[in-house]
Assembly symmetry: C2
Homo-oligomer: 377 residues x 2
C-alpha cells in the first residue's frame, strides 16, 4: 500500500458521508481506510452505511482535493499522523456525547497552516461568542485573546463575525497562535467579509475543517463544527452570547467533553451578556481576565497528568450504573455512601449498580469500600 493510496482513501472517505459517521468510523477501525473505501465503492457494506454513502459513493475527487490542499500548503490529518491530536470525544461523563452522532471524533481534518495541531492543542483555549457583539464584547474578546497568546496559549475560534473575529485578530496582532475551525471546506473562506482574516490565519496559524474542499457551511455543520472548537481546547470561554446562541452550543459541547466552560460577565442591561450570565449560573467559571483562563488551563493540565479514568467498554451499562461507575475515583476507594453523594443518587440505589459493576469486572470491593478493578486502572 502506498501512502498516497491510503491518503486518497482517507480523502474519499472524508467526503463519502456527512462527517462524523459512526458506522463509517467503525468500518475503518475494522478493515482500515483503503479496504473500507473499496467496500463502499462496491456497495459491499451494511444497510445503514449503504444508505448513508449511496449518494456520494461514486463521487471520487480525492486526488483533486489533495492536490488543491497541497497547492495551498495544507495537509489532510488522520489518525495515521503523529500530529493527530488525542481528542477525547468520548468523555469521562460521556453518555450524552456518545448518544449524539456528532459526539464522535472527526474522521479526518483538512488543515492549512504552518503549525502542528498536536502542539497547538497542548495549550489552547477557545474564545467564542455572538456575531452581534457589542463594543464591550469586542474589547473583552481582544483583551482575553491578547493575554492568552502572551502566555503562550493558542486561541481557537470559529472565524465568525463578532467575538470570534475579535479573538482571532487580537491573537494575530500579538503574534500569537490562532486556529479557525470552519463549518465548510478550507477553500471556502466564510464569511466572505473575513476572507482576508482567514487567509492570514492559514498563513500564520491553522485553518481546520472536517469537511472536504468545496463543501459549503450549513446550519448542521456549524453545530458539528462547534464541538470541534470545544474539543480542541482545554477551556471554552464565552464572551458574549444570547440565550440560544452558537456559543452556548460550543459551551455545551465543552461541558459534555469534560472541558472547562468559562464565561465573562457583562452589564445586566445588555442582551448580549444574557447567555454568559446563564452559563455562569449553571456552573461555568466566571472569568474576567486572561490569567483566570491560564490558571484554569493549568489546573486542567494537572488533572490530565493524574491517573486517567480508564476507557472501558461501558456501552452495556445502564445510566445509573454509569453514574455510579463514574463516581468512583481514578485512585483510591470509596464507601457506598460516598459514592452515592458523588453520584448524586440516594444511598439505597447505589448498591445494586455496584454489584452489577463488580460482576462486570469493572470494580472491586475491599474492606467495605469500592474501587476500580485493578486491570481497568
Amino acid at each position: 500500500m502506498s501512502t498516497n493510496a491510503r491518503l486518497r482513501a482517507w480523502a474519499y472517505l472524508s467526503r463519502v458521508t456527512e462527517s462524523p459517521c459512526a458506522e463509517l468510523a467503525s468500518l475503518i477501525a475494522d478493515v482500515g481506510p483503503e479496504e473500507a473505501a473499496q467496500r463502499i465503492r462496491r456497495g459491499e457494506v451494511g444497510p445503514e452505511l449503504s444508505r448513508r454513502t449511496e449518494g456520494r459513493r461514486e463521487l471520487d475527487c480525492a486526488a483533486e482535493d489533495l492536490e488543491l490542499l497541497d497547492r495551498r500548503g495544507g495537509r489532510l490529518l488522520t489518525a495515521d499522523d503523529g500530529e493527530w491530536p488525542v481528542l477525547s470525544f468520548i468523555s469521562f461523563g460521556g453518555a450524552p456525547v456518545r448518544d449524539k452522532p456528532q459526539g464522535r471524533a472527526p474522521l479526518a481534518l483538512w488543515t492549512i497552516g504552518p503549525l502542528r495541531l498536536d502542539e497547538v492543542t497542548q495549550r489552547a483555549a477557545a474564545i467564542v461568542g455572538t456575531r452581534a457583539a457589542t463594543a464591550y464584547g469586542d474589547h473583552v474578546a481582544a483583551e482575553l485573546s491578547a493575554g492568552l497568546v502572551e502566555r503562550e496559549v493558542a486561541v481557537v475560534s470559529g472565524g465568525a463575525y463578532g467575538i470570534d473575529g475579535a479573538a482571532h485578530r487580537a491573537a494575530l496582532a500579538a503574534d500569537g497562535v490562532t486556529v479557525a475551525v470552519l463549518a465548510g471546506g478550507v477553500d471556502i473562506l466564510y464569511p466572505a467579509g473575513h476572507s482576508a482574516l482567514l487567509h492570514r490565519i492559514s498563513r500564520e496559524g491553522l485553518l481546520i475543517s472536517e469537511y472536504p474542499p468545496g463543501i459549503r457551511p450549513a446550519r448542521h455543520r456549524f453545530l458539528t463544527r462547534n464541538r470541534l472548537v470545544a474539543a480542541l481546547s482545554s477551556a471554552t470561554v464565552v464572551v458574549e452570547a444570547g440565550l440560544r446562541s452558537g456559543a452556548a452550543s460550543t459551551a455545551a459541547w465543552a461541558r459534555a467533553l469534560g472541558r472547562v466552560v468559562c464565561a465573562t460577565p457583562g452589564p445586566v442591561t445588555s442582551t448580549a451578556s444574557v447567555g454568559c450570565h446563564a452559563l455562569i449560573r449553571s456552573g461555568a467559571e466566571l472569568i474576567t481576565r486572561a490569567d483566570d483562563i491560564v490558571e484554569i488551563i493549568g489546573r486542567a493540565g494537572e488533572f490530565a497528568d493524574e491517573q486517567p479514568h480508564p476507557n472501558q467498554p461501558l456501552d452495556a451499562l445502564t445510566d445509573t450504573e454509569l453514574q455510579v461507575y463514574e463516581a468512583l475515583p481514578g485512585r483510591g476507594a470509596r464507601t457506598p455512601d460516598e459514592i452515592a453523594v458523588a453520584a448524586g443518587l440516594p444511598s439505597a440505589s447505589v448498591l445494586g449498580p455496584l454489584a452489577m459493576l463488580e460482576i462486570a469486572g469493572l470494580i472491586e470491593r475491599h474492606d467495605g469500600r469500592w474501587r476500580l478493578a485493578r486491570r481497568s486502572r
Copy 2:
C-alpha cells in the same frame, strides 16, 4: 414597674456600652432591664461589664433621648415589643457569628417611621454597594429596587452615597417601603448630603439605628451596622463593590447569618464590579433582575417554613462538635460518612464528636445513622 421606667432603663442600657455587648445582654436576660440598669449604675457588676460600662454608667440621658425620639415620631424597640423582629443572629452555621461580638443581636433599635419593623422584615431584601457607584451601578440599583417594591419587597440599605442612595430613592419613587439602617443616632442624618433623603425615609419608611441619639457614625459602627442590614433582609444584593468594600462586609454577614447573598455582574472592565464578580465566584447568586431576587426570597421563605433547626444550649460544644451537630439534617438521619461530607470533615474525625453529642443528649443513633434527638426536634 411602669412601662416608662422600663423603657428608660432600656434607653439607658442602650447607651451605657458600645452595642452590641454580650455581657450586658446576658445580664439583662438574667435580671431584666431595670435591675440591670440599677446594678450598672451602682457598679455592682462583673469586672468585664464593669470595665465596659465605667465610662458611661453615670451618664443618664434616657429621658431626654426618649423625648427627642418622641418629638420626631420615633420609638425605641426592644425585645419587650411585639414589633421586635426575630433576628436570627445566631445562625444555623453559627460558630463564626457567635465568635464575633458584633454577631450578637442589638440590644434595642431606635427607629423613626410609620412602619412596623416586624412587617417590613417579613419580606425584605438589602441592596447595597459602593459609594463610588458608576452610572451603570446607579441604574441597576434603581431598577432592582423599583422591581422589588413593585413586588412588595421592602428595600433595606445603609443610606450611603452611591448604590445605597440609588436603591432608597428608587423605592421611594415607586411608593415602596424602604429602610435605612444608620451607623449613628437617628438624629444624625449622615451623610449630610443625604439628609433630605433620610428625612423622607423617616416619614415614609423606617430609619433604624442601634445607637442612641447623638452618637456619631464611626468606622467600627459601619461594620456593626452592616450586619444589621444583612440580618433584617432575607437576601443581600451587592450591586457594585470593590474587593474590600463595606458591601462585601454586609455580604459576609449575610452569609454568616444564613441569608442569601446575591450580586449583579457588570463589565469586567469596571473596577466597581470586581467585588461582585468575586462574590459570584465564591458562591453568591448571580442576579440580573428583581424577579431573580423575589424568587430567591420566596425560596428562603419556604425553607423557613420547614422544620427549623432546634435552638439548643450549644455553647459548651467544641467547634468540631458544633460542625458535626450542624451537619445533621432537621429531619431524617445520616450516616457518619454523609455527616463527614456535609460537615466538610474527614470521616474518621466525626465519630468522636458524634459520641459526645449523643452523651449530651443532642443526637441519637438509629440503624447506623444519626439524627437529632427527638426532644430537640
